[in-house]
Assembly symmetry: C2
């Protein structure tokens, strides 16, 4: 008996050869897709299409189960990223916990006593308690220097979408704004009712369908590059909104450091694919135009359809 | 110190009062949103907006951690649903296992020995080994009798989207087709390379960003109504494509029955909101037009943005 399992799996990895485009109203073109699979495209990618991690923009979170790497986005949230650096350097998260896991929404971590002024952990020197909202940036900030690459595909949430510096980005040229999109694996800074009430000490990561309705409502600070499954596969909290009922259900955070503060010989040698590279464009096309196992090619992707690949430095 | 956690959480549940619509190009209208929160809308919903489970169209999967309820979709996959009924009635899945959990993709279950003809569990009497592909149905099947309600929101994957009988549905009027969409929690039937190679014995559920590129490529058979977190929070498999390396890593399936075969007094008394009800339309509007904690209202939703609610029968 054929094993459906392998083949269901294979779809994500299937070579995309010549495909008849989807007869959707907004995409009339017929187009040849790359004749290579995602693995073949990655295997053939030139070294110049990859970049190293920036040690000042990478958080290393240590759980008992392993290491989570988070790339920060100073171009989009400069004040929050500066504060997060100060929090990490001050050991703010060491010994704190993952407090909340809400299915199909977010995993969130910070100070379990954050609401109790008497017990809350003080912020370290150099960290601010409140920051300005960084829900969007002027659109010229995703110009040439950011290597913004626009997707041709329609997006219901924003007039323009694409990628910049490894992040999914949405923009509204008429309003002159650009912002990071809430895709799977994106990390944001929890806030109170006031727009300037976040400081980066309480962070969340998206673990389900992209909650794009949050875009422009909260400051997004980065993306999980590695260890996502350590945050997404945690037991869901059973109290309201996915908070854990009991302290012992929480997952402890052993330590969070900036990669720059990890001894050089202990640093994970990870590389990230450049999103203004030909390799990334080919990978997106391989998802847009499918063949092989696929009998229907969507002729479409969205910014949350694909995560930017990482690899161990060769 | 304010606790960002509660407020990040509150967004999903925030009352949507008067909102200025998003200035997105495709939605110029300004519109008043319902002045009620999702909870208030649900609390005020008339009994007639809810329906009971159909015992012939509901699967009850028992794991050591609890019960998963799956609603089947005979309107969209009649042959697969009939086969799944025969498989359940023949005890096919009893003692089998969850074989694969791939982060941000699917959890999949079936016969671990399915690929080994000598060891594979034989299909029970009345179940077919191969079924015709049921990737779409004629569009007239989502006519009046199905209570199809169209979303006004643009969707990049299909020219028309909406809900029918509790399921997210996409359609292409020009091609005369309608199909179930791969949203979070939707259940499909794994297949091999041949389009008619699925039989419903190997099933998967979406546990991440909606892989809409699978639409029209595989038969979707239903939706998880309850117990989703028992499938989404499992450890990710570390072998290729999220399969488990070792048999002991798998999660055992104790038993799968049709609800009709569960003694009446043991049946979970769950109700599902009707998707052609005013309550469902109000809930969608409360997500489209936000206020309160939100400073930006997206003016948009998509079929995978919201799951159809269930409740314990009052």
């Amino acid at each position: 008996m054929e094993h459906p399992a392998l083949c269901v799996a294979a779809m994500l990895l299937t070579a995309a050869a010549l495909t008849v485009a989807h007869a959707a109203p907004r995409r009339a073109e017929t187009r040849q897709a790359p004749r290579q699979s995602a693995q073949e495209i990655l295997a053939a990618s030139p070294a110049a299409d990859w970049r190293a991690l920036d040690p000042e923009n990478t958080l290393v979170m240590e759980l008992a189960t392993g290491q989570v790497l988070i790339e920060l986005a100073p171009r989009f949230a400069p004040a929050h990223v500066a504060n997060i650096r100060a929090l990490a350097r001050g050991g703010f998260w060491d010994g704190l916990a993952i407090l909340r896991v809400q299915d199909n929404f977010v995993t969130q971590w910070g100070d379990p006593d954050g609401e109790d002024a008497a017990k809350a952990r003080p912020l370290p020197a150099g960290a601010s308690a409140r920051l300005p909202a960084e829900f969007s940036v002027p659109i010229d900030r995703i110009g040439k220097s950011a290597g913004f690459t626009k997707l041709p595909d329609v997006d219901g949430w924003a007039p323009r979408t694409g990628f910049a510096e490894g992040f999914p980005v949405a923009a509204d040229p008429k309003a002159g704004k650009a912002w990071l999109a809430h895709c799977y694996g994106m990390v944001g800074a929890g806030r109170g009712d006031a727009v300037d009430s976040s400081n980066g000490s309480e962070l969340y990561v998206v673990i389900g369908q992209a909650p794009r309705g949050l875009d422009l409502n909260i400051t997004v600070v980065g993306r999980v590059l590695k260890g996502m499954e350590l945050l997404s596969a945690l037991p869901r909290g059973t109290a309201a909104m996915g908070f854990y009922d009991k302290p012992e259900q929480r997952t402890g955070i052993q330590r969070v450091r900036l990669l720059a503060d990890v001894p050089a010989e202990e640093r994970p040698a990870l590389q990230v694919l450049k999103t203004d590279s030909a390799t990334w464009a080919q990978l997106l096309d391989a998802r847009r135009y499918r063949s092989g196992w696929f009998v229907h090619s969507p002729g479409h992707i969205e910014i949350c359809s694909a995560s930017v690949p990482t690899r161990a430095a060769p």
